[in-house]
């Protein structure tokens, strides 16, 4: 049963095709069956091989692994696998409707799942390109699925910008093949460690190309402009999926390529920390000024990606696992917020938070669940965001620590602004809400709390790191969080709410498509300066 990784890719894709072929609404149940099969297979695989994944590395067709295509797993990919299975379950339950004809939607949803599992498990750089390009195509179809003008323009913006990035990634792969003679990730890792090939200009150039492609896919500054457009106009379930897990595909590539070049003498941590910090601060600045509830959440995804980059760029293993943990936590609370916001938008028929009032009176349970998500994202003690931010903070210098605090202040401010929707009189008598939509939101809230309180055993089990020194709550933490909320409230009351000219200017600031591509070239040039030209001087 060494082929389980392959089944994980093909079960969702086959189910998607069968659902599409048989034009019966009842066929939608097959999606749940396929998802169940995937879950059972993944759990079984994990329990069988968890001590040593290396026995499951394999190459298709028994070819020599220098030329063959293979799959491999390790602790990081398995944790990604379970996270994505969980988020896909939530989105599937949220969007499931056996009475309506949703087979087109289910087709793309399940196809994306299979492709994403392939991306996680592949051990071959070219297959990585194929899978990342397929996710780009499928995501742009899912974004356009609403069939409104907004969604079509967001989809084409997303498709073309990301394809340009992915093609840069492909160019990097070609240069690596030219230098190393193969595209197997394991092989290249050992070759980099055992030779000084990585100091040649070609390999440095290839590294720059790979990383600039990844920067587009994972929405780093200044290339994040596609993310708020695409994530804000998609269906709520799709937004949760995109912000929760699909955008992490780019970060997963970042982790993989960083590990591949781990032995190379590149000085990456400073540069990527700077990029991460800028992404976080710029993202949160935009988020504070927005009025559209889904735009706010989308810009917060950008800023949280910056925080993850702050952790992932570090060479220290504890800070690195902090970044990884923040990635998992973000997937949980951002999906929760997007799904909850989707219910609210459905009921109130508007996305503008100025016109949404009295949610607490109308939907108390949903409000409590949303508040759990907001507390998690703003880093309140007892919730999961707090733990991962503390782990990242632990490895930072003083100046870096204050950068992170600025981001936290912005996050608190913007969620204080968003929490205004809970106050006010009840405007709707009996909102029509489907019970089925509540279930995933509630499960995600429980997961947020669990990750916040039981972080020590979970981190030990999944990532094999000891987090015992990070306590979920103490008087000092509560005091600090209270101080943060107070400062955030002042900032909200006296700057954001007054709607000064600069605030309006930031809110309406949009980057055109040409400028976004120009930024891409600029980013690429800066990276060449840092990683190719500077070491030669």
């Amino acid at each position: 049963m060494i082929f389980v990784p392959v089944y994980l890719v093909f079960v969702p894709i086959l189910a998607a095709m069968i659902i599409f072929l048989f034009q019966k609404p009842k066929m939608a149940y097959l999606a749940l069956v396929a998802q169940g099969v995937v879950t059972v297979l993944a759990v079984w695989y994990f329990l069988t091989f968890r001590d040593d994944y290396s026995q499951t590395f394999f190459t298709f067709g028994g070819w020599n692994n220098l030329i063959g295509i293979g799959f491999r797993n390790d602790a990081i990919s398995i944790s990604f696998l379970f996270l994505s299975i969980f988020i896909w379950w939530m989105v599937l339950i949220y969007t499931f409707n056996a009475k309506k004809d949703t087979r087109n939607f289910l087709f793309f949803l399940l196809f994306l799942e299979g492709v994403f599992f392939g991306l996680i498990q592949t051990n071959d750089l070219f297959n990585m390109f194929v899978f990342i390009e397929l996710t780009t195509i499928l995501v742009s179809i899912l974004v356009a699925y609403e069939k409104a003008g907004d969604s079509f323009r967001a989809a084409i913006y997303y498709l073309l910008l990301n394809t340009a990035g992915v093609l840069a990634f492909l160019l990097g792969i070609i240069l690596l093949y030219y230098s190393f003679g193969n595209i197997n990730i394991n092989q290249i890792t050992t070759m980099i460690a055992s030779s000084d090939l990585s100091e040649t200009t070609t390999v440095r150039f290839a590294y720059v190309l790979l990383m600039s492609g990844i920067a587009v896919k994972s929405a780093m500054f200044p290339l994040f402009t596609w993310l708020p457009r695409a994530h804000a106009v998609a269906k709520s379930g799709v937004s949760a999926l995109l912000s929760g897990i699909v955008v992490k595909g780019g970060l997963y590539l970042f982790i993989r390529i960083s590990l591949m070049f781990a032995a190379a003498p590149y000085d990456t941590s400073m540069f990527f920390f700077a990029i991460g910090a800028t992404t976080a601060i710029v993202g949160v600045m935009f988020a504070m000024t927005q009025k559209d509830i889904k735009q706010i959440l989308a810009y917060h995804t950008v800023s949280q990606i910056g925080i993850m980059m702050m952790g992932l760029s570090s060479t220290d293993s504890l800070t690195f696992s902090g970044g990884l943990l923040h990635l998992y936590n973000h997937a949980l609370f951002k999906s929760l917020l997007f799904l909850g916001a989707g219910i609210i938008v459905n009921v109130y028929k508007t996305k503008n938070i100025k016109y949404i009032r009295g949610v607490f009176r109308a939907m108390p349970l949903l409000s409590i669940l949303m508040i759990v998500g907001m507390l998690s994202i703003s880093g309140s003690p007892l919730f999961n965001g707090f733990i991962s931010k503390s782990v990242i903070k632990y490895g930072l210098t003083d100046a870096q620590y204050w950068l992170l605090q600025i981001v936290n202040l912005g996050t608190a401010t913007s969620f204080l602004k968003m929490s205004q929707i809970f106050f006010g009189p009840r405007t709707l008598s009996y909102p029509l809400v489907r019970k089925r939509e509540y279930l995933p939101v509630a499960l995600l809230a429980v997961a947020c709390l669990t990750m916040g309180v039981l972080h020590v055993p979970i981190a030990d089990f999944v990532l094999d790191v000891d987090l015992a020194k990070f306590k979920p709550i103490s008087l000092q933490y509560v005091f600090e969080y209270g101080l943060m909320l107070g400062a955030g409230f002042l900032l909200y009351k006296y700057v954001i709410d007054k709607d000064y000219k600069p605030v309006q200017w930031i809110r309406n600031f949009r980057i055109s498509f040409e400028t976004a591509n120009y930024m891409f070239l600029l980013y690429f040039t800066v990276m060449i300066g840092v990683f190719v030209v500077y070491p030669m001087l």
Partner: protein
Amino acid sequence: MNPLLTFIVVLIGFYGLATSKNIIKSVFSVTIIESGIILLFLNLGNFEGGGIPIVGESLTNIVDPLPQALMITTIVIGSTVTALALMLSIKVFHHYGTVEWAEVLGRKDGE
């Protein structure tokens, strides 16, 4: 053909993306980048007088078969992207009446 020439084709594509103000031209630019990359990779695996890498022919002095296998896949994916992008630009034209980036992106949400 010199690999540097194909690299220039890639750069022309990126220049097109950074300057063209029309959605269709942007789609073309992406296609040009892709063609440049395909030509570059085929060039790197090729040499003057190399034989065809097919089992049954003489297997001495053949060109590297891997780039050809990989680039077939890239061509397939590239045609998919082009088709999808053109379909989306038709839809954008139906909704906004234009394929100029500035006009399409300049409209307010919900129009």
